[in-house]
């Protein structure tokens, strides 16, 4: 059984077992840069009322984001201590991603969409849960349009201090400050290197 802070033998799913729509994910529609700077210093300016993807002139504005898209964005994030992705380790699971309301039902492009991602760390006292959550929040806030509000939580019972970790990850000020911490920023950058 698991001992210490690290999980020596996590269950690893084969890439072919992962949920997929068998096409390239939506990551390509976004900028190539996967750094987190945009959370600390959002650089893009979205003019009022303009459709959020209009600046790229791509036609997938007609194709609203769904749970699979969100899964594709974050399942490729690397685990900070194993040479596998969060999808392979089942830290990120498709049924634990919820979008409300469904983006297709939005009355106008500025209306909010809440993305709730519940994470299941590989063991219940994983000391790196906060870092994983930070990377997931970082990845989604950078790639999703600005009307998406990202809530990253630990799945109930999955982590010894799940409420505490969830509260930290929900605190915008703490997240912003964490990403100005060079050590944390480097860890997150490294985890995001495997994202398309």
């Amino acid at each position: 059984m698991e001992r210490d802070l690290d999980n020596a033998n996590p269950t690893i799913l084969n890439v072919s077992q992962l949920p997929s729509r068998r096409r390239t994910g939506p990551a390509a529609r976004h900028g190539p840069d996967s750094k987190c700077d945009s959370i600390v210093y959002p650089k893009h300016h979205w003019p009022y009322g303009a459709s959020s993807s209009s600046d790229e002139g791509e036609d997938d504005a007609e194709d609203p984001v769904d749970a699979q898209d969100v899964y594709d964005l974050i399942s490729t994030i690397s685990d900070p201590e194993h040479p596998h992705t969060l999808g392979q380790l089942s830290v990120v699971r498709l049924p634990d991603i919820h979008l409300t309301p469904t983006p297709a039902e939005l009355p106008d492009p500025d209306s909010l969409v809440t993305v709730l991602v519940e994470l299941t760390p590989t063991i219940n006292h994983c000391s790196l849960a906060t870092v994983i959550g930070l990377a997931v929040r970082c990845r989604l806030e950078h790639t999703l349009p600005p009307n998406y509000r990202v809530d990253v939580r630990m799945k109930a019972g999955s982590h010894a201090q799940d409420d505490q970790v969830s509260k930290q990850l929900g605190d915008k000020e703490r997240v912003a400050a964490a990403l100005e911490n060079d050590t944390l920023q480097r860890m997150v950058d490294k985890m995001l290197e495997t994202c398309a």
């Binding site: 300016h45 979205w46 009322g49 509260k167 605190d171 915008k172």
Partner: protein
């Protein structure tokens, strides 16, 4: 700048103000220029001058409220983001020096000064500085930048990010709060006359470190002591007049006062929010019933609450019999008794719920008593307190019916604006005097200013029908 200019001010956001409520109209005015193109945290208006200090990234941009353009900038003082800024109350009557203090994620607070009289003769130097903003057109990075802010002093002591700071009303004390769960109180021990042009004489001492919170202290605020009613209250025999309130990640609010021994003690813990308390606002408008100013708190739980100091008739009489004015006789009282000098604060109102996510900012106008709120959902809401019915007033005078807290007040929403900053979160809102040419009563009329993740600082005209 390669980014396209912002759209005309009357965009879809304007149309979003609620037509259903005819009592108020909230109309966007042209945003402050230049656009900051990065998350801006807060915008603090100067108490008297037409200036607004906006904290963003590692700097502060000061805007002119007369022209809605950049006046000056504070850069190079902090290694990480500046979260907040506060204007220093003027020291001495003839000092034309502007003072601003910045709180940063680099765990320090910085004290800055801007000499409005430098290279100027006679009076009105500051007014002229402000007017120079007229010529300082487009992106403000031009030749007007010689007028710089000087970084005078760094206040070090906190272990982690400084999140909030506030000067006491007279400027004697500065409170800072941090993720390290503490509040520090600093006292100004500079040359009080402000002679020597106020150069290089800034000196501050730590007088207290308050560490009773169990989480980040998100905000601190001093009670406005200039009001007559702020001097009444339970503790007036035992404590000095200054009252500090702090809001925390531990979901509580604490009230702090200085006792006769010069010790800052927690006199009340306000519990009731179901999430981080993002901040607090004291009632700045004097109350007709002479009661102590109330406190408004707002939270990640999406609610805004009003708290009232309970006035216990017996305790007041006891204090009168004791007859000792502050700082005489009380110092010898044993600690056990001192601990009993707690204040009781009751939640006497919850504002109608508008926000669906964290409420990041609330502003309670000292002029009109109106309240404005904003937050993660990008909604701006304005509220008014309903006039209390006659029977409520009689209850207030008896003070007995609900534990001496006075009548429960009720509030109504006057109007809301959705998507105030498009799809972005709005981090801050403040009432602010108007000095722009469009104002009907310059220097008196109030507008709202919102500060968002989009780097836009937007003024809003508020007209009450």
């Amino acid at each position: 700048m390669s980014t396209p200019p912002p759209p005309a001010p009357a965009g879809p956001a304007a149309a979003a103000s609620q037509p259903s409520n005819p009592t108020i109209t909230i109309t966007p005015l042209p945003p402050f220029q230049p656009d900051l193109y990065q998350r801006a945290w807060s915008s603090t208006p100067h108490p008297t001058l037409p200036l607004l200090a906006t904290a963003h990234a590692k700097s502060v941009t000061v805007f002119s409220l007369a022209t809605f353009t950049k006046h000056s900038a504070l850069t190079g003082g902090h290694a990480r983001s500046v979260r907040t800024a506060a204007w220093q109350p003027p020291r001495g009557t003839q000092s034309k020096r502007l003072g601003l203090v910045t709180g940063s994620f680099d765990a320090t607070a910085g004290l800055w000064s801007f000499d409005g009289d430098k290279d100027r003769d006679g009076n009105g130097g500051l007014e002229r500085e402000v007017r120079m903003g007229d010529r300082d057109t487009e992106d403000g990075d031009g030749g007007e930048e010689e007028r710089e802010w000087e970084f005078n002093l760094v206040l070090e002591g906190h272990e982690n990010e400084v999140k909030s700071l506030a000067f006491s009303p007279g400027g004697q004390y500065l409170a800072t709060s941090s993720r390290d769960k503490s509040v520090w109180i600093w006292e100004d021990v500079s040359n009080p006359t402000g002679d020597n042009d106020g150069e290089d004489d800034d000196e501050w001492e730590t007088v207290a470190v308050l560490s009773e919170h169990d989480g980040d202290v998100k905000a601190v605020a001093w009670c406005p002591t200039h009001l007559a009613n702020a001097r009444a209250g339970v503790g007036r025999k035992h404590y000095s007049v200054e009252v500090l309130a702090s809001a925390s990640y531990d979901d509580t609010v604490r009230i702090w006062r200085e006792d006769a021994d010069g010790e800052w003690v927690c006199v009340a813990v306000l519990e009731g929010h179901g999430g981080t308390v993002w901040g607090l606002q004291w009632e700045g408008k004097e109350r007709d019933d002479g009661r102590f100013p109330r406190l408004m708190t707002f939270s990640a739980d999406g609610t805004i609450k009003v708290w009232t100091l309970r006035v216990d008739e017996e305790e007041t009489e006891e204090g009168q019999q004791e007859g000792d004015p502050f700082r005489s006789g009380f110092g010898g009282m044993p600690n056990t008794m001192r601990r009993s000098l707690r204040e009781e604060w009751d939640c006497t109102a919850v504002l109608p719920k508008v926000h669906t996510r964290d409420v990041y900012s609330v502003s309670w106008s000292a002029d009109t008593g109106l309240v404005a709120s904003t937050g993660s959902d990008g909604v701006v809401a304005v509220y008014a307190e309903k006039e209390s019915a006659p029977e409520d007033v009689s209850m207030a005078s008896s003070g007995a019916e609900n534990g001496g807290a006075g009548p429960k007040s009720t509030w109504k929403v006057l109007g809301t604006v959705s998507h105030a900053h498009g799809p972005y979160e709005v981090n801050h809102i403040t009432w602010c005097k108007r000095f722009d040419p469009g104002a009907e009563r310059k220097g008196k009329e109030e507008m709202l200013v919102t500060t968002g993740d989009d780097g836009v600082v937007r003024p809003w005209q508020v007209r009450i029908a």
